[in-house]
Structure formats: C-alpha cells, structure tokens
Amino acid sequence: MTAVNPSLRDRAGTFGLTPEEYDLLVQGIGREPNALEAAIVGAMWSEHCGYKNSRPLFRAFPTTGPQVLQGPGENAGVVDIGEGWGVAFKMESHNHPSAVEPVQGAATGVGGILRDIFAMGARPFAVLDSLRFGNPDSPRTRFLVNGVVEGISHYGNAIGVPTVGGEVTFHPSYQENPLVNVMALGLLRHEDLAKGTMGAVGNQIVYVGSKTGRDGLGGAVFSSADLSAASQADRPAVQVGDPFMEKLLLEATLEAIQAGVVAGVQDMGAAGLVSSTCEMAYRAGLGITMDLDLVPTRESGMVPMELCLSESQERMILVPVPGREQELLDLLAKWELDVVTIGEVEAHDRYRLTWKGEVVCDLPVALLNEAPKYTREGVESADIRAKRERDLSGVPVPGDLGAVLVDLLSHPTIASKRPIFERYDHQVMTNTVVVPGAADAAVLRVKGSGMGVAATSDCNPRFVYLDPYKGAAAAVAEAARNLACVGATPLAITDNLNFGNPHEPGVYFQLQQAVQGIADACRALNTPVTGGNVSLYNQYTEGDHKVAIHPTPTIGMVGVLPDVTVRATLDLKAGPHTLYLLGR
C-alpha cells in the first residue's frame, strides 16, 4: 500500500467528503485510506453518483407495473410497448458544463445520455432537450442559447439521432445557471436487453472507446498535490465530445450485444472508470481487480487519480460472455476503437486497483456503492408562501386584453421555437411522424410494426416555485395530456430534478414536496418512474448571498400508439370546425 496520510481528514473537503464522512470511511475499512481511495469514495458518494440527499426521498416513487421491463437502477429504464419491442429512455442534465462552455457542455450532455441508452442494448432513436435560460435580453443569455443549441445540434445531427422535441423557457433565476436537460429514447427487442453487471467470477473487463485524457479534472475538487505535474491551465474542466467516435462506439456496442457476446455493459460517465466498474461489480455482488497501467491514455505521465476519475467522453466497459472474449475483441477492433482487457472479476468483495505492480486501491465494493444518506428538515420559505397566498382579487384587469395577448405571445418563453428546432435534424432515421411544432409531443413510428412511440418533456418552474407539490404533479399531468393529445397512451416517466442547495431548508422543502407531487401524480396516471437524474446546487448570486434557481423537476414521459396512422396534431384542419373545451 502507498503510505498512509494522516492529514487527509483535514482536507477531506477536497475529495468531496465532509470530515464526518471521512470518519465513516475509516470506520468502514478499519484503517486510514490513501488519497486515491479518499478521492474514489468522494466521487462515489457525491450527489451525482451516490444520491445522498435525494435517494431517501425516492422511496415515494412508484416504480413497477406490467409495462416496466427495467425500473430505476440501471443505465436507463425500459418499458414494453408490445410485439416484442421495448423502449429504453432516460433524461440527464449537463447544467454546469454548459454554463462554462455551452457548445461542448451541451454536446457532451447528448453524448452521455445516448451512451446510457445503447448500453441497454437499445438503438437510440430520439432526443428531446429541455432548456432554461436567464433574461432573454442579456448578451450572456444569447451566447448561452446559441452555444447550447449549437452543441446539441452538432452532436445529435452528426451521430444521426433525431432531436424531436423539448422546451425552452426564460427566467432571471437561470441567469448564471442555465439548465440543459437532455432525454433520449432507444428501441430494442426484448431479447437484446443488456445490463450493467460484471456477471460472474472469471469474467474479463474490457475497456473500449476513446483513450483517457485529463478531461473533467480541472474542477476545484482536488488539490494539485494529488494530480500529476501538468499545469492547472492544461487540465481542462471541459470535455470535448466527438460524435463521430460515439457513432463507432454505438454501432460496435449494439453489434456486440446482438451477437450475444456481451454479459454486461456500462458507459463511463461521471467519475469515469471508477463509477462504471464499481456499479457493475456491486450489481454482480462480486469483487474485481483492474490494472491501471493497461488503461489507454491520450497523454503521457497520467497518474492513478487521473486514470480513475477522468471524464473523457466516448468510453464504455464491456464484459464478454465467458469463452467468447476473442469474438468480442475482434468485433470491436473492426470499428477501429481502442480495446483493452484491463481486469477480471474475482470471488471476493473488494474493489482493487493496481498500478506499476502495487495495489493502489483496495476498498469494499459495497462501501463504495452505499453512500451515506441524509434526510433533512424541509421548511417552506415564508416569502414564497406569502406570494402563493397573496390575494389576487384586488389586481386590476387590464383594459386592452388584446395588447396583453400580443405581449404574452411575443415573450420568448411562449413564442415559436422554430428557430431552435430547425437547427436540429428531427427527421433522420425516417421515423418522425409528428415533428416539432406540429404538436406538444413527438410521435415516431416503429419500423417493422404498425406502432408508434410518443415522447414529451415538460415542467412549468414558476408553478413549482409557488407550490412545489402541485407544480411537480402538474408537470406530470401536462406530460400525460401532451401524449394523450397526439393519441398515445402514457406508459412511464423519467425525471430530472434540478434544484438549489439541499442544505437550505427552503430548497429541501421544494425537493421533498416536488418528489411527493411527482409520485402521487404518477400513481394516479399509472405511469411509474423508471429512472431519473438529480442536479443540485444550482444557484445564483443575489447581492452577497446565493439564491436557488426556480425548482425545476423536468418530466420526460413516453407513451405508445397501437396504430401510428391514428394520431392527432394541433393544427386546425380544413374546416368548418366546432371547438370544444374539455375539463374543468
């Protein structure tokens, strides 16, 4: 083992751990960790990987139903749409990267969610993007909108998956902290459903895709002592995506899964190599040993911390079916990807890494995957409550309602999104039956069957701000209405919970209430939650303190049309028509 560093506790924060969490770790392993181990635990226990603040709330979600082929816990949820077909779908945020470098931040957001989909054995066939920006008149907002749309368009168009829907809203609370939530859907035959598992003892662990660079390590998380000599300036906080490489990875992965040579597969996303292999080992209930010297690198002199936590894009872990290793390697090599066997599954419960012949990490798999969970006290902000309860009867009705209507219609949140969705290829794959703008949900046909799949993403954050329970429930209801309006039966949802700092009682209250609202609405509508994503600490500076963004629980919903030729769009057809108003 590398030398034990007794002062690590003092800088636990640089690894994303509180001193108390550090003590938990020491207790769990019966010794002091080394810096690499502390960093690995810090990454695995982060909100992004470990959901330490949000998981306890998720118990409220309904997650089962006859239509659910795969519920939460895998790379993506999967629903049965009939005739042996399934749809894998999930939504994920790339908020912080997009605020720093909008083009690449948004592009790699698309890349990441697509990998989650094809890791399930599904061919990605639609993307939706839900975007929130600040004041529409500010130059920074224009820069961000243009960059984010450019990034999504660049990645999605190039890889050839249509972007078929989404939403764009503007509100000052997102001025510093734009939200970029991307949802993807994929189609699979039931028998091709793949899982993120290491399988059984003796299985090989195969690294495939791009080489590993120092991407995504420039954040403030680490003190420079833990990283190699590369200067801070050269350590990019941004990752650059390559849709061309991802296309190769997609085709190679699907070919391998369909050939039946894959026992387990997972994408390397946040916390890269570590989180993917840790989670796969945990699902198998087994230990692994990997040799970090074998990881393909893009730069020389990379050290274990960098190899483990790099967030270089377009990389996957594949576990071959025993006895068919060579078949898998040959198949992958054809696509000119870097392919290396870097480790093996073993009959113990440890997560072991070696480097230059030394064991540099030896931790229990379970400890890594079982982050401490926090349940906090939520308290509604008195200020927001007052706004909600404000008596509106005294507000004067404007005289010229026509002018008000024009004002409303010209607000960028309400105005046509054509300039945005025209920059996305929404027709590639020739399945898009209801295109953006034609309805509030997109409809795609399933080639080889008469069915259609519908998808939408929705959330009205102003409503959630005023009443997080009702607002979040309303987002689910709106999504269901949007599906019903194209003629689809809603099946299930994925969610993306974008909130402020959960340590603030007011924010925690919003999170709690919103989750309960989603859960109750999903129960009522029989649309279980099959997956989701959490993005916390979204805040902006007001005077000398931080204020949370409007709470934004984005809902992505998927539905099915038994006969895709029977569908509806929102345009008035050749009249005369009678218009009806439904509902209360």
């Binding site: 368009s153 849709p243 996305y424 027709q427 590639v428």
Partner: protein
C-alpha cells in the same frame, strides 16, 4: 434496379437510403462498406447517403472522397453507371471531382432541417423523367453545409447545359443561383442537398421524392 448504398463510418442516412431503395427500387438493395475495393457484381445504382461521413471534420465529404470505395464508384460512373449523392453524398461527389463546385457553410452558419420547395428545372434526366417540367416538389433538407459554390464559368456552363436539375424556390443556404441539385455532363451522376429518401411515404409528410426513384426504375426497364 440493383442498388448499393455506400456506408462511411459516420454515414447516418445510410439506413434511410437503404429503406427507401428497398421500398422503391430494389428489395435486395445492399450496404457496401467504405473500405471495400469494389462494388457488388451488377450494381446499377450507387447511392451515396447523407450523414457526416468522417465526422465531417475538415470539410464535409473531404475524407470520404478519398476512401477506397470511391475509386470503384468513379469507375462505375465512367462506365455509365448511375450515382445518386444526397446531402453528404453530394459533398462527397464534389470533393471527389465527379461533380463540379463545392459546398460550403450555410449563409447563416446554422444547420437547417425543414421541408423546402424545389422546382424541377430539368425533367429530362434519368433521375427526373417521372416529373413534369417545372413541377414543384416538397422535400426536406437537413444540412449545415449546403451552400453551393462554383466559379462563374462553371455556373454558366451548368445553366447553359441544363445541368441544374433542382432549384430552391426559397433559398435556405445561400447557394449560387439557388442551386439545389446538379447533374454531370453524361447525365448519370446526380448530387442534391435535399433528401428525396425522406419523402417516399405519406406517413412522414411527403411522397414527392418517389418520382426520382420511379424515374430511375423506368429508365432502366426502357
């Protein structure tokens, strides 16, 4: 009509092209991988599909134009075989010299995906025989680099020889003379930015692309 759809590693309309070709021209249409040295025996039509053949790094189509299969495509064209290049396929054709000119970034620098209206400027080609003179078609575009450029002499020649086959009614990208599609001197190689393979089924909005495939089919039977 025996059809081969060329697949570059970053092609992404390859499956769409194959689907349309099988629906309209040849139930046995096949993919041909870019590293192949030759086309399948008896190939009559080579379909260069849209996409981002090599990530479209450098310039669209630039690297694809230099791949092994393109030598075979050139021979096929020289023997009088039909070649249809759509979108990125058009870019590959100009980059490989099978068609004159070049395609550069759209005037507003943005990618555009939308249905556009095209006028059939020459309905007496093997690709357009099923259309009427000056017929207006609705066919989708989806590209970021479709701005056709050639030097003035080349443009004048194309116009004089009736080789501008399709013209935009409302130019979406800045193309000179509103050019949407052109044909070579011998009339067997056609490149166009709009996607006829996306317009062969009413379910997806338009059937106006069908005429191209019907023209080719009839032409061969004739």
């Amino acid at each position: 009509m025996k059809t081969a759809v060329i697949q570059f590693p970053g092609s992404n309309c390859d499956a769409d092209a194959l689907h349309a070709a099988r629906l309209t021209l040849d139930p046995d249409a096949q993919f041909v991988w870019h590293t192949e040295a030759g086309l399948p025996e008896g190939t009559e039509l080579v379909f260069l599909p849209g996409g981002f053949s090599y990530g479209d790094h450098l310039r669209s189509g630039a690297i694809a134009a230099r791949s092994p299969i393109m030598a075979a495509v050139k021979e096929h064209a020289e023997r009088g075989g039909f070649v249809l290049g759509v979108c990125n396929g058009f870019q590959v054709l100009t980059e490989s010299g099978l068609l004159p000119g070049a395609l550069s970034r759209n005037r507003d620098l943005h990618f555009h995906c939308a249905p556009v209206h095209l006028r059939v400027e020459n309905h007496q080609t093997a690709f357009t025989g099923a259309y009427e003179a000056n017929q207006v078609l609705e066919i989708p575009i989806a590209h970021g680099e479709g701005n056709y450029y050639a030097d003035p002499e080349t443009i004048a020649r194309l116009e004089a020889e009736g080789r501008v086959v399709f013209r935009y009614m409302d130019n979406p990208n800045g193309s000179l003379n509103d050019i949407a599609g052109i044909i070579n001197e011998d009339g067997n190689v056609l490149g166009m930015m709009p996607h006829p393979e996306r317009a062969v089924e009413l379910l997806l909005g338009s059937e106006d692309g069908l005429g191209m495939f019907e023209s080719l089919k009839v032409g061969v039977v004739k």
